[in-house]
Symmetry: C2
Subunit: 144 residues, 2 copies
DNA sequence: GTTTCAGTGCAACTCGATTGCAAAGATTAT
DNA sequence: ATAATCTTTGCAATCGAGTTGCACTGAAAC
């Protein structure tokens, strides 16, 4: 079973305040949408849901969220950047990293919070800042 | 020290024959270029070097190489797909995977052939097909 | 020698990401 | 309260990597 962002039952408003992002209607709606997902979503996904607003507004909202560590972005190889809520104590530091799983059939991207990131031994004098680990395959739903 | 594709001292021609890709001048030149690099390169990089030929021709050459497992592609988060030579016995199977290191300063992408990929425990009924592990940070040259 | 087909070059197109600019809304100073 | 200022939002336009259509070329097959 996948442990999905069991995210703290906080409201969008509380999360935004906690992360020092000013509340606006679009931010609340976008965050609500992200919270309701059990997978990482793309700008296009959100745009399709929130038809009453604009792509660039959602884009800038996501950038703001990312800057303030409300969400993190994942490049899953689908060609589209996906976004998912950071867990409550996430600083987007290497220690907070987790694997992502991209289903090559349905195109969904899951956060694998229960699969630990191993310790990585880098070559001498290399400095780790961030990591992006994407596993591709079939999700439990598509692997029939 | 990074162990770079210590690539078998094979010539481009030999490699192409081995992988069942017909020799053409553009293929030899592109492969030569890839062999001479100690990092993964993008289409744009190659295009800049091989000014006497065309982007789409290089693009199709790379696709042919990838299909025939002469090279593998990496999404390092730079927004551009990078390409690197497969080692001699590479089938691009999960077992052949390795980490890639993307330097956020100079933009180079390295193959970390000496850093082993750990065993990954996926959630039940998830099937691994492929993986893309990119570590971002500073390379030995930029980490001063 | 002619036909056939893979490979190449050019130009055009696709599509996600991003930006410029002006209007709307919120905030601060007067 | 009103004006000045800053932030946010919506629209349209642009960017850039990737990709494709089409015609030409050159090699291989008949």
């Amino acid at each position: 079973m996948i442990r999905v962002k069991v995210s703290n039952m906080k409201s969008p408003e509380e999360i935004l305040e906690l992360k020092n992002v000013k509340c606006t209607s679009i931010r609340i709606v976008v965050l609500q949408h992200l919270l309701s997902q059990e997978k990482a979503v793309s700008l296009k996904d959100i745009e399709a849901e929130l038809t009453y607003t604009d792509r660039s507004s959602i884009f800038r909202t996501l950038k703001t969220f990312e800057k303030n560590k409300v969400i993190h972005s994942i490049e899953d190889g689908s060609g589209m950047i996906k976004y998912a809520i950071c867990s409550e104590d996430c600083n987007c530091d290497p220690e907070d990293l987790h694997f992502h799983f991209y289903c090559s059939n349905c195109g969904k991207t899951f956060c694998l919070l229960d699969t630990p990131i191993p310790n990585i031994q880098l070559p001498e004098n290399f400095k780790l800042q961030q990591a992006n680990f994407v596993i591709k395959g079939l999700c439990n739903h598509c692997n029939q």
